[in-house]
């Protein structure tokens, strides 16, 4: 089987980043709860072990259920070995005494929690799970960037907690450097492999130089950032955040005073530490200057504004959750998910119409669905998946190529699926640039063709594929 460097290098950089965060977390827990009883670095070996095991499972096409069971069994065995290695070092592997002691420890974990076994159990399970998740990650720029963003936030949070708890991390500068090194290296590699970005544009095809340049750049940035992240700087940031929070609270107290209160008796706003009566005095003077009627109108407007903003925020959050759920479903192998843009809004409007009809008895006319738009989106979505799949196979589309220019590259790379590739490209071009939606039957055929492309790719031996892939090099 041909080694796909994209599927190896990018997860390794993600592993580096996540490893830093997981190490910091486990170190903190070990230091504060388990009295430094667990050798964290040894426990961390479960993480790459889970990744390698799951990657090895991918080499043979097995069913998902079998893969999950195998993964679970391997995880349990590795955890047992971790318990043995970390907590029962003195006993021989064949000695049944450690198993008895382990059984006792595990049962006591749930009755009267002991920190070290609990840390090994939960930490080990988390590490195994993280390794499994890493093996499923899509090796592209989007993943690398989101991994970096997410892990950066986690790292900052953990460093902040460590500073607050006065936990001295061993060599934090090195930790931060390694984190940024992996993060930025992963993103630059992903960008370069997809043939995008200024770095790839300037050094297209020069992999050695590109790698070296990325490495040097990342080292310099990493060193600069890690030297800046000192405890005093963190304290300064914390003070600044506290000051900003104080100002926000002052503003909130002022805004709260504008909300109309019931006539029966005003609700007293509890005094805050940040607002003194003297500071609130100027606001009160301003309020006295404004005529009562204008003040009432302003209050109503303000209440409506607050309600509107809250509704908008809820809307955005629910929309994001909805979108995320659909994407999660779409990530399942073999699943077909249509992009359904605007579906959330349509559902919400339908609900509001029903509520309105129930209250008033008046039926509002329903908005006509934009069928053509959905079909156009569907074709575009199929082409988008084709692009993504082709990029993951080592044939990314250079940004300056038109669909037909890119088609010739794909045809050369996968001659067996020439007709399907041309058909998908033709329909995409018509939909995208001509706004000409295909019929339902054509969409079904396109989906079949898309699956045929993948099947033909799998059934074609590597030696019979086009020169692009057998060269094992991304198109520049």
């Amino acid at each position: 089987m041909k080694l796909n460097w994209r599927r190896v290098l990018l997860p390794l950089t993600a592993m580096g980043m996540e490893g830093c965060a997981l190490y910091t977390l486990l170190f903190l827990l070990n230091e504060r709860l388990a009295g430094n009883a667990v050798p964290i670095l040894w426990l961390m070996t479960l993480y790459p072990a889970a990744f390698i095991f799951n990657r090895l499972l991918e080499w043979r096409p097995v069913r998902m259920a079998i893969r999950l069971i195998a993964n679970f069994m391997a995880g349990v065995i590795c955890l047992l070995l971790a318990f043995k290695g970390l907590l029962f070092r003195g006993m021989a592997l064949a000695d049944p005494a450690w198993l008895t002691a382990l059984g006792h420890d595990l049962s006591s974990v749930f009755q009267s929690p002991q920190a070290a076994p609990l840390l090994v159990l939960l930490g080990g399970a988390a590490l195994w799970g993280a390794g499994w998740r890493l093996a499923q990650l899509r090796p592209d720029f989007k993943t690398a960037a989101s991994e970096f963003q997410f892990t950066l936030v986690v790292m900052l949070f953990l460093l902040f907690i460590a500073t607050e708890l006065d936990v001295a991390l061993p060599n934090p500068v090195l930790l931060a450097t390694v984190f940024f090194l992996f993060g930025l290296l992963g993103m630059s590699l992903a960008h370069a492999m997809e043939g995008a970005g200024w770095l790839a544009g300037l050094n297209r095809g020069r992999w050695g130089g590109l790698l070296l340049a990325s490495f040097i750049l990342v080292m310099v940035i990493g060193l600069l950032l890690s030297s800046l992240l000192t405890p005093s700087l963190l304290h300064a940031i914390l003070d600044a955040l506290k000051w900003v929070w104080g100002q926000v609270m002052k503003a909130l107290v002022f805004l709260a005073s504008l909300i109309p209160v019931p006539e029966s008796g005003p609700i007293e706003i509890p005094p805050t530490a940040t607002t003194s009566p003297d500071e609130a005095e100027p606001f009160r003077n301003i309020m006295e200057l404004i005529p009562r009627i204008i003040l009432k109108i302003l209050r109503v407007v303000w209440v409506l504004l607050v309600i509107g903003i809250t509704a908008l925020a809820l809307w955005r959050v629910s929309s994001q959750v909805f979108d995320w759920l659909r994407r999660r479903r779409g990530a399942t192998p073999g699943a077909e998910v249509e992009p359904l843009r605007g579906a959330f809004l349509a559902d919400l409007l339908a609900l509001l119409r029903r509520i309105w009809a129930k209250i008033t008895g008046i039926k509002l006319p329903a908005r006509q669905p934009r069928a053509a738009a959905a079909e156009l989106t569907s074709v575009r979505h199929i082409y988008e998946r084709l692009l993504h799949w082709a990029a993951s196979q080592g044939w990314p589309r250079p940004v300056f190529q038109t669909p037909y220019e890119y088609l010739s590259l794909l045809e050369a790379s996968l001659p067996a699926a020439r007709e399907e590739l041309r058909s998908i490209t033709d329909y995409y071009v018509r939909a995208r640039y001509g706004q000409m939606p295909p019929s339902d039957a054509e969409i079904r055929r396109l989906k079949e063709e898309w699956h045929q492309i993948k099947q033909k790719h799998l059934s074609t031996p590597a030696s019979k594929r086009g020169p692009e892939e057998s060269g094992g090099k991304a198109h520049g």
């Binding site: 988008e384 692009l387 589309r397 940004v399 300056f400 071009v429 018509r430 640039y433």
Partner: protein
């Protein structure tokens, strides 16, 4: 208002283009690309600038195109002593009627061949500015509209520069496309010898499209759909010419408008009712390169305007779905 044409609407354009190309090919051997560009210019009512060495068939192409259209055709041989009034026409005093009468110049035609345009003085060259852009001429105090369709086909020899005057930028900008013919292949050259053995095929060339038909086709091309992102792509390419370090003066908004209209015409010629980024890429060099004013050092480095346009195309992202 969406008044875009549908696929059946552009079919007459594609058919007419095929007929026209076949007719021109009775005289011109090969040169499909040049003929296609000529048809693009015809359908946009744009002017064409043909630059190449002598004896390649520049004038022949222009004359064959004119003969294939049922339009009036005039040829002006540009020489250093040519005056603006020789082109536009003059008011002369008719002694018989005792009145000033207008004698129209050769510009008053549907197709005007400005042969070796760079041999005329800048003063005479400039008299074409108004007619090319506004399709009218002003003689004395009278403004006279030119017949429609109106198209100037200018030729220029890039080798022989003695006694010539380079075309001003304002004039170059008024040409929609610049066409280069290039030498024929050995097979094509042999075919030329055979074709011209007995008689000049130009003499028996009949017109295949009339002027009203051409005007109708031009109207159809204006309504070929151009998606928003493709329009953005055209603008991005034009903007990039203005920001390129090797270019002193980039392409004008007239250039982006020209590229836009030419892309619509090319799409219609190919039987499509919508423009593709491929159309834009294909036409970028013929529509933009001649309008760029290069820096001296760029020329010294051996970089051509066409090379710069190709460089810009190789760095401007094409609007396609992202591989997310």
């Amino acid at each position: 208002m969406d008044n875009r044409v549908s696929l059946p609407d552009v079919t007459p354009v594609a058919q007419a283009a095929r007929k026209l190309a076949a007719n021109i090919n009775r005289v011109i051997v090969g040169k499909e690309e040049a003929i296609r560009l000529m048809m693009v210019a015809l359908l946009c009512e744009g002017h064409v600038f043909i630059e190449d060495v002598p004896g390649i068939g520049k004038t022949m192409l222009a004359r064959a195109t004119a003969s294939s259209l049922g339009c009036t055709f005039k040829r002006i041989q540009f020489t250093p002593d040519l005056l603006p009034s020789d082109v536009t026409g003059i008011y002369y005093f008719n002694q018989k009627s005792q009145e000033f009468e207008f004698r129209p110049g050769p510009i008053m035609a549907n197709i005007v061949l400005a042969d070796e345009i760079n041999r005329a003085t800048p003063r005479t060259q400039s008299c074409l500015l108004e007619s090319m852009q506004e399709r009218q001429v002003t003689v004395d105090v009278d403004t006279i509209p030119l017949p429609r369709p109106f198209m100037v086909i200018a030729t220029q020899n890039p080798i022989e520069l003695e006694g010539t005057f380079p075309l001003p930028e304002a004039q170059l900008d008024r040409f929609l496309l610049k066409i280069k013919l290039g030498y024929p292949s050995p097979q094509e050259e042999e075919a030329i010898l055979l074709r011209f053995q007995e008689a000049n095929p130009l003499e028996g060339l009949a017109s295949v499209i009339t002027a009203p038909e051409l005007l109708q086709l031009q109207q159809l091309c204006r309504h070929v759909h151009t998606e928003e992102s493709v329009r953005g792509y055209i603008v991005a390419i034009t903007q990039a010419t203005r920001n390129h370090p090797g270019v002193k003066l980039g392409a004008s908004p007239r250039a982006s408008l020209g590229l836009y209209q030419a892309s619509q015409a090319l799409a219609a010629i190919q039987g499509r009712s919508y423009v593709l980024p491929d159309d834009v890429k294909y036409l970028a060099a013929p529509a933009l390169a001649h309008r760029l004013i290069m820096r001296t050092e760029t020329g010294l480095r051996g970089q051509s305007a066409e090379g710069i346009v190709a460089e810009i195309l190789a760095s401007t992202p094409v609007p396609v779905e992202a591989a997310s």
